[in-house]
Symmetry: C2
DNA sequence: ACCTGAACACCGTTCAAGT
DNA sequence: ACCTGAACACCGTTCAAGT
């Protein structure tokens, strides 16, 4: 029975030259430790060697169990996104289900914001394809009345939206010199020419650190709830508007 | 006058211990070379040392000119996205301008698909904020009739969409073992249970290598034109639907 | 000002060797 | 089967030193 504590080996590590024996490590334990590492240090600072250190083993054992770095990271993402798919409640309109999918997906990444860069930019997502997600979206779109020949394209549009907002809301920010970075952005914003950028200047109070490109903290610190809601509204309304009109009574 | 050829130093590199003299390098030349490197080898294989090699100089000179790796990459993205902002044609409806923005943005990344991971996942984008883009979007949204108190959130929704689709369409794929990876995905797809995933199985021909999560090549090889068009339609229609209704005559 | 070269503290991955 | 330890070919960044 594998333990999940930080070091699987005896803690008296100083002069201990432990014999190379099985230590109860498994793919599952390694992936969980990897997620903990990413949660704590971020993706950029995550390494197989560091992961192995946190497990009290040699780096090559990670490779032996899981494969390479990409595989580890793909498994971590799978762990983060598991149970994201909302159940289809009886009688629930497709709009409501889609909305719950978007919210649950975002909530899952919010729990582990440092994994956000993985969901869109890398294709590690398809290293472990989640067929249930694809089927559920296709099913709900078909039910909504999307024509058969546009189902694939419409699915892609939905999938892009599902991942797109959250990727950016929780995008990684420069960790270290937050102080100077914030100061730099703010100084830039104060110097903006009101003649050339009237809207920007007028809306500055509501935009500063709250709008993409104009912020220095990500959605893990400053959630963009109302923006996300409007975004989801757009997606659903856009979907509705693109449906073939039924004969209106 | 800086030259843009591959090696700025004399090509007789074998036994040449060149004296450390100025070599005509500039921030601009370095960033262009960096883009060329990324275009050729991809972001994962891009390194400051490799970049310096391609320029025929020591690695630390890149640091001296541009700063650190993030700064180099931010400048590269700025170069890729320059001139993305479409002009506002006289009498042009806001919908048409927004559509052209989406298309030009995508076209810019299509020219350098390996930079796609930078636009959304990393926040290198705001290391060099493009105020003109922000202002243009705000301006067009205000003109469309978005209420003042929702301008920021609506801007965020548009920005998320602008970046979201392209990020994924051109997401990086495992470069090396494309053969085995493709085989793996195809094998997986053929084994899908038709009882559990009826839509997936029925639509398999149109989904295979054309739908997110079910493809093994990205948009640089297999463009997702019709999906992108539907996506943009959704964005615009969703925006229209969210506008306060004017008094209908 | 602009560049070299060495050094530091890391990486991912492979591979022989142990039990 | 599962692990160690050494090795290989890299990294980004810093810093003294050259011209």
């Amino acid at each position: 029975m594998p333990r999940t504590s930080k070091s699987l080996r005896t803690q008296a590590s100083a002069g201990s030259r432990a014999a190379p024996v099985a230590v109860g490590l498994s793919r599952e334990v390694i992936v969980e430790a990897a997620l903990a590492e990413i949660d704590g240090k971020g993706l950029a600072a995550f390494s197989l060697r560091g992961l192995a250190r946190s497990l009290g083993v040699n780096a090559s054992v990670v490779v032996w169990h899981v494969g390479n770095r990409d595989a580890v990271v793909a498994e971590v993402l799978r762990l983060v996104l598991q149970d994201t798919l909302p159940p289809r409640l009886p009688g629930q309109p497709w709009q409501a289900w889609l909305r719950s999918l978007f919210m649950r997906f975002r909530a899952a990444i919010q729990r582990h914001p440092n994994t956000a860069p993985l969901i869109g930019a890398d294709t590690v997502s398809n290293l472990r394809p989640d067929f249930a997600l694809v089927e559920a979206i296709l099913s709900v779109l078909a039910e909504a009345g999307v024509p058969e020949d546009r189902l694939c394209s419409t699915y892609n549009a939905v999938q892009a939206a599902l991942v797109g907002f959250v990727t950016q809301e929780l995008a990684h920010m420069p960790t270290e010199d937050l102080q100077s970075w914030q100061a730099g952005i703010q100084a830039n914003l104060e110097d903006v020419d009101a003649e050339r950028y009237p809207h920007l200047v007028r809306l500055l109070p509501s935009l500063t650190n709250r709008a993409f490109i104009l912020r220095w903290q990500n959605g893990a610190v400053v959630p963009m709830d109302s923006s996300f809601e409007i975004f989801v509204n757009h997606v659903i309304a856009g979907l509705e508007a693109s449906l073939p009109k039924p004969a209106q009574p």
